[in-house]
């Protein structure tokens, strides 16, 4: 029992550490987005492991929130970077605020 919990948490901690390294090293913004996504998923996995090992279901709603937050976060950052693209600006130009009335 103790052996299992030490092993599982060590592996998850190793995964978190490697994702954090990529988060710090990552040469581009997209590398960091991928690393953040993986980080949040591993954190939610860690919460699930905690709930399973202690048979304590209190943290499970937090788990749902964290896993959905990871998805929404990476998709919105991806859309934001996509908005910075100059050659797909057809629908972005429309979104640009154009000052129409000048005082």
């Amino acid at each position: 029992m103790t052996v299992v919990s030490v092993l599982v948490f060590a592996m998850l901690g190793g995964g978190v550490l490697l994702a954090l390294l990529r988060l710090g090293l990552g040469p581009s913004l997209l590398d960091r987005v991928v690393a953040t996504d993986a980080l949040l998923v591993i954190i939610s996995a860690g919460l699930a492991v905690y709930a399973a090992l202690t048979r304590n279901p209190t943290v499970v709603p937090v788990l749902v929130v964290v896993s959905l937050l990871g998805f929404v976060g990476s998709v919105s950052v991806a859309r934001y970077i996509g908005g910075m693209l100059s050659d797909t600006a057809d629908d972005d130009r429309r979104a640009d605020p154009v000052p129409e009335v000048r005082p």
Partner: protein, 133 residues
């Protein structure tokens, strides 16, 4: 109370261990793979299956409580959302040329169908930075 008592507990422990191992390899792939698109493979497949296994293991351990369905819901969400975010990030990575062309065996999309060459936006693409362009 917290010990291992039954066959279900043993299966749950095996699921948790395997899932944690897959999460570790996902982190390892994230660090070792050479460009964004390959790293996304690591962040999508082992990650999704690892979380699926961990959720199944937790559901076995917490059987009988009302949160079991919530855990399975998280697993299904993970399976549905991982391809979506991978697809969005991959499309932008390709269009912004975060692709190392020296590592490509085949590239049937060409160099982005007549778009002006060179990196766009605020930062250099990985491959270009490494070749010192």
């Amino acid at each position: 109370m917290n010990g291992v008592h039954s066959v279900a507990d043993v299966i749950a422990m095996a699921c948790l261990l395997l899932g944690a191992l897959l999460c570790l390899t996902a982190g390892l792939g994230l660090l070792r793979f050479p460009d964004v698109l390959s790293r996304m493979h690591a962040g999508t497949k082992p990650q999704a299956v690892g979380v699926l296994l961990i959720m199944v293991g937790s559901a076995l351990r917490l059987a009988g409580s009302s949160v079991v369905w919530m855990l399975l819901l998280v697993a299904v969400f993970q399976l549905i959302t991982a391809p979506v975010s991978a697809h969005m990030i991959g499309r932008i990575a390709y269009r912004r040329r975060h692709v190392r062309r020296d590592r490509m065996l085949v590239d049937e999309l060409g160099s982005g169908a007549g778009r002006p060459g060179g990196p766009q936006g605020d930062e250099p693409a990985d491959g270009d930075a490494r070749r010192g362009r």
